[in-house]
Each structure stands twice: as structure tokens, then as C-alpha cells.
């Protein structure tokens, strides 16, 4: 993460995640999910807001749909590789973070059943 001193819950995108998650599921994020996101960000050397801004640039930034799609595809692959080093549950926490921030993705299901 770019600023190791800053708690992960202080990032705007993490607040969005927590709020959206609670709204949908009626309960709070588990701490293990926040830890998973921290690990993911550390490995990547990026903070949560940077990841989301890359996938969904703020309005008026001039980034087009094609660039957004490219960034989303990149992160789908990055999370898949993260899963290879960790486990499905940990990677799914990161996917949940991305999804609740508006970055649509869904992992392959067969991989989970066949040795994931």
C-alpha cells in the first residue's frame, strides 16, 4: 500500500464497500475480509482508492469506456493470480470490494469445485 500508516478503513473506496455490503447483507464486513484486501493491496503496491479509480475513473477525468473495460479485465486477472497464491475465500473478499465499488466481475465456478 502506498501509505502503510493509513488504516485501510480510512479509504473512501473501503467506506463505500462497508456501506454497500451492510446495506445488501444486513451485517458488517468481517475483519478477515478487510485483512484480505490489505494483503492484496500490499502485494500490488497500490491503495484501495487507486485500484478503484483505475477501474472507474472519476467523472470528468476523460477516461473512456474502453479504458475502464481494460482496467477491469486487468484486475480480474490480477485477483485470479492472487487467488492462486492464497485461496478462493481470500480472493473473493477482494472481489467483493471491487464489486461493491461498481467493478463487476464473477469468478469461474468450476475452478472452485475442481481444485480451487
Amino acid at each position: 500500500m502506498s501509505d502503510p500508516a493509513r488504516p485501510i478503513e480510512a479509504y473512501r473506496s473501503v467506506v463505500t464497500w462497508k456501506t454497500s455490503y451492510r446495506r445488501y447483507w444486513g451485517e458488517a464486513l468481517r475483519s478477515s475480509m478487510l485483512e484480505a484486501l490489505s494483503r492484496f493491496c500490499e502485494g500490488l503496491g497500490a491503495d484501495p482508492d487507486q485500484i478503484i479509480d483505475e477501474c472507474l475513473p472519476p467523472a470528468g477525468s476523460g477516461e473512456g469506456v474502453l479504458l475502464r473495460t481494460k482496467a477491469r479485465r486487468k484486475y480480474i486477472e490480477v485477483v485470479d493470480r492472487f487467488e492462486e497464491r492464497t485461496e478462493r475465500r481470500t480472493a473473493n473478499a477482494v472481489r467483493s470490494f471491487l464489486i461493491h465499488n461498481g467493478v463487476a466481475m464473477s469468478p469461474g465456478v468450476l475452478a472452485a469445485g475442481r481444485g480451487g
Binding site: 454497500s20 445488501y24 475502464r68 461498481g102 463487476a104 464473477s106
Partner: protein, 278 residues
């Protein structure tokens, strides 16, 4: 009625009992069935105007006719004029009021879960501005919409389940626009006739007049799907598949029913005098 039998009994009915009204509650049930049909983004792309034959003059009925729908307008007590509402998507997008995806109602109903990548923000930040917005801002998109067909399909089957005869046919879009005040953004799709059938469904072969050749394929568009004849026997026993060819008495039935036409709505094309207004 069992679903399989509803499928098995559906035929395009041409002869409706002109003197037996259709109960208004049956019409409502037909409409309710259409309303429950699957539709993309939960948008009601269909709209319908129910027209009672008794509200139409002979001239009105004639104006609505097309080569595929002539006597049905004279015989059927009820006709549902189905439309494709080309403004439905843009309206739902602009209003965010109706329970379509743009309003957030489908997500809130827990029908589009994060399990499959959906979130409130995906709808508001991606689906609306990048997918639906551009698509629905390009203006009306004529040429029908499969979801309208999906809704009509449920209406047709529901009519059969109610013991009614029914059929779909094109009607005069221009005449209907004038007669019923149809909005500019509605595109005519089909007239659905409703009435008690005078012809027996068993008379018309389920595959009567069907063109030969494979229509269903497997794996690619060249390899015909091998339908299993033993399984077809089971579907016949269940009442879903019925006689492929028309009954031997069909021609005679049509000849008897044809007499009604001379009495009710004037002669078939090619003969006889014009019926007077009534």
C-alpha cells in the same frame, strides 16, 4: 389445466363464437400473465389496448383488417392490440421510479446479487451511464423487442388455459393509431384475438403445413438435434404433443363453420355482396 396440455391444445383459432362474450376477469387474467413474464432490466417494453368488438363499427373493424386478420375482427368479442413501447426504457431510465433496474428496485429485491458481480454502484456508475444511457439516448429503436413476444406468449397460453380460443395476427397500425389514440412511441406488434372457439383444437394438426427440414441443431448450426421418438411418445401421452396432421373431418368442419361467415360478417374474399352496417 396442466401446463403440458396447454401447450398441446394451443392452435391458431380462426372461428370465434360471436354471440358468447368473454368474461372480463378472463381478460384480466390474460393480461396479468403477460405482466409476469421475464423481461430484460425489468422494463415493461410491452403495452396493450384491449378492444371490445362491440365498441367498433363495421367500418372500424374493416380498417383494422390485414390479409392475415380479417374475419377474426368480426367474430372475436375481444382483441388485445399488443405494442412495443419504444419509450419504455428511456422513461424508466429518466424517471428512476418504476421497478426497473435503473430505479434500483431489482437490486433491492435481492434478485441481482453481488455473487454475480452486481452492486448498487455497478448499476449507478456503470450500467446506467455506460450501457443503458447511451443505448436509450440514441432515440427510439423500432423493429420490435423479443421481450414483447415473451409477454405475449404468456398471454396466449393463459387464454388457452382459460378455455378460450386465441390467435395472433398483424393489424393495421395506421388505423389503430387513429381509432385508439396510440402514442407515437408505440410500435404495433400483433392483435391477439380472444373468444370461445367454434372450431375444435383436435381438428387442426399440431404441425399442419409445417415446412420440412431441421430447425433445431446441436453444437453448431449445421448438426441437427437428434429428437428421440420414444421420448416423443411420452410427450404424446402427457398431452403436450398431439396429432401432427389435421383430422380427416377438418375440411368438413371448415365447410360448416364457413356458413357462419356469410351470416355474420359477409362473404369471404372473392364472392358475394357487401354486408350492411349493423
Amino acid at each position: 389445466m396442466e401446463f403440458a396440455r396447454v401447450l398441446g391444445r394451443r392452435r391458431d383459432v380462426h372461428f370465434y363464437c360471436p354471440w358468447q362474450p368473454v368474461e372480463v376477469e378472463k381478460v384480466q387474467k390474460v393480461l396479468e400473465a403477460a405482466r409476469l413474464a421475464s423481461r430484460a432490466m425489468n422494463v415493461a417494453f410491452f403495452k396493450a389496448i384491449v378492444v371490445l368488438r362491440e365498441q367498433l363499427s363495421r367500418a372500424d373493424r374493416d380498417a383494422l383488417k390485414t390479409p392475415f386478420a380479417r374475419h377474426q375482427f368480426d367474430l372475436a368479442p375481444v382483441v388485445i392490440l399488443w405494442y412495443h413501447d419504444m419509450d419504455a426504457g428511456p422513461t424508466d431510465f429518466a424517471d428512476r421510479r418504476w421497478p426497473a433496474v435503473p430505479s434500483g428496485a431489482v437490486y433491492d429485491a435481492l434478485a441481482l446479487p453481488p455473487l454475480l458481480g452486481w452492486s448498487d454502484r455497478y448499476v449507478s456508475e456503470v450500467v446506467l451511464p455506460e450501457v443503458l444511457g447511451p443505448a436509450w439516448s440514441r432515440g427510439r429503436r423500432p423493429g420490435g423487442n423479443a421481450d414483447v413476444g415473451v409477454a405475449i406468449g404468456q398471454a396466449v397460453l393463459c387464454a388457452v388455459d382459460q378455455g378460450l380460443g386465441t390467435a395472433l395476427a398483424p393489424f393495421s397500425e395506421e388505423a389503430a393509431r387513429t381509432l385508439f389514440g396510440v402514442p407515437d412511441g408505440w410500435e404495433a406488434v400483433a392483435a391477439q384475438f380472444l373468444g370461445y372457439p367454434l372450431e375444435d383444437w383436435e381438428g387442426i394438426g399440431q404441425r399442419a403445413g409445417e415446412q420440412p427440414g431441421p430447425k433445431v441443431f446441436e453444437g453448431d448450426a449445421r448438426t441437427p438435434f437428434p429428437f428421440d421418438e420414444d421420448h416423443r411418445e411420452l410427450l404424446r401421452a402427457a398431452g403436450m404433443l398431439t396429432a401432427s396432421d389435421s383430422a380427416p373431418w377438418r375440411e368438413e368442419e371448415l365447410a360448416y363453420l364457413g356458413r357462419l361467415i356469410d351470416e355474420t360478417s359477409g362473404p369471404a374474399p372473392g364472392g358475394g355482396a357487401e354486408e350492411e352496417e349493423h
